[in-house]
Point group: C2
Chain length 276, copies 2
């Protein structure tokens, strides 16, 4: 198959490298800045550098740009995509993206299947992309009405490059869960490192600090877009979190050991039940 | 030297295994339940199983029990320790422990030097202890007035078993920093997993979830003791954290992209300045 990957950052770059490592598909990379595309070609991460016209020969298109940029690109170039080709995004939000791309798919005759690869790093860009990024990760698919055969093609592609599981869901459930699993930790990490104590942590810190603060090294432009496009579920989770932190704060302030132990035990129990 | 290690959980057990792997010191292990001590002996983690009377031949004593239990043990058995022997604790809090152990050292003639090995796991007990636990970690020492030569002995011991750095500080600075680097992440992790969404996270989660939630698998009895013995610094950090989360919550609720981006950028900048 001819696979076109648009946006060669950590996500798109890792798709390229993984497809080249694990499959024989022909990989066409498109990137806004040509230096990165040339580097990808030199490193063998892609078979050719494409332009919007390359969409004509695509069997599958992976959009690996900022959410709004995915829509803008397809609005502009969607007519070039051939009938029956599969287009998928890789956005961390779905309700704000999928309906628009679905609409464009009906207008232009391609097949839209939403997806979200559950992997990343606290750094961005092609330089940190890698063929093994997706190893064992979950590949979330939001079919948005696409025929099962197209969903199967995308799922098989994901499994062929190392993803460990496929999760089929709706944009609504996706966004609700992502608010908890991904967005909340990013809020927490940023709020955490804002403490004046943070700059002096070295020598006093270990794994707890490292893990909670890791994703504070955030792409603030991307994540503020993701947060605001997913406001309602994120606000729900933030309100729950603030309430639960408040319970622990109260127990500490009241010096109530029994209450505090019971609250911490709740956390312990959740992890135990999940087998983590 | 004869080194007596009291309490063969993850911390004490790892000290035993590390001393056996890296040094030729004679290691005596004391544990409340004899099965664990026997297991440690069988596995070669200690040279002999000790009793309180073993304190008479100790050159260095590591107290690896719950904070209050360290004090209780030395109050009961401190008279057995020989003059000039070094006693150190390994408690995660210092103001509540060091002055009492210092007082007992003056009463009984041993030398007290506080310490806190900055390593651990989200699991407890001898079964998860390991010789490499301290590799590269920071060993915090609170001299509490002990002569430099004793501090040096303890520091050299720590470096000999793999610690990567020694941090000399006061109980006050230790407790203030630990509230941020260690206690706050434990509060956050527990509050985080209390969300009803947590039980459904599988398939929707990746590194962010894993890292923030890791330490929620908490020893609630130990940590509630640690929190309450360090209330003031912990409350200060909790208040700062709640305020900073509040700023992000407000920006999301107000749909203020500029404000939100600026807040996230603060987090990003802190990590960048720290080179993390």
């Amino acid at each position: 198959m001819n696979i076109v990957i648009i946006g060669l950052g950590i996500i798109g770059g890792s798709f390229c490298k993984a497809f080249k490592l694990y499959t024989d598909h022909h990989i066409i990379g498109i990137n806004r800045t040509s230096e990165v595309a040339e580097q990808a070609l030199r490193e063998g991460a892609i078979d050719e550098i494409g332009t919007a016209d390359s969409l004509q020969k695509a069997d599958v298109v992976f959009l690996c740009m900022y959410p709004q940029a995915c829509i803008d690109y397809i609005e502009k170039h969607g007519s070039k995509i051939k009938n029956g080709a599969i287009v998928t995004d890789s956005s961390g939000i779905k309700r704000a993206i999928c309906p628009k791309l679905k609409e464009l798919s009906l207008k232009y005759g391609f097949v839209f299947v939403g997806s979200h690869p559950m992997a990343g790093k606290e750094k961005n860009g092609f330089a940190v992309s890698e063929a093994e990024l997706y190893k064992g990760a979950s590949f979330i698919i939001t079919p948005c009405g696409a025929d099962q055969k197209y969903v199967d093609v995308l799922a098989q592609l994901a499994l062929s490059i190392g993803f460990g599981q496929i999760k089929i869901t709706t944009p609504e459930e996706h966004d609700r869960m992502i608010a908890f699993t991904s967005q909340l930790p990013h809020v927490l990490a940023c709020a955490y490192v804002m403490s004046p104590s943070c700059k002096n942590h070295k020598g006093f810190s270990a794994g707890s600090y490292r893990d909670v603060s890791r994703v504070a090294n955030i792409n603030s432009k991307l994540w503020s877009e993701l947060f605001l496009e997913n406001r309602e579920p994120l606000i729900d989770e933030l309100d729950i979190l603030v309430e639960n932190i408040g319970k622990i704060v109260d127990a500490v302030k009241e010096n109530d050991k029994e209450k505090l132990t019971a609250l911490l035990e709740e956390g312990h129990k959740v992890k135990q039940l999940l087998g983590e």
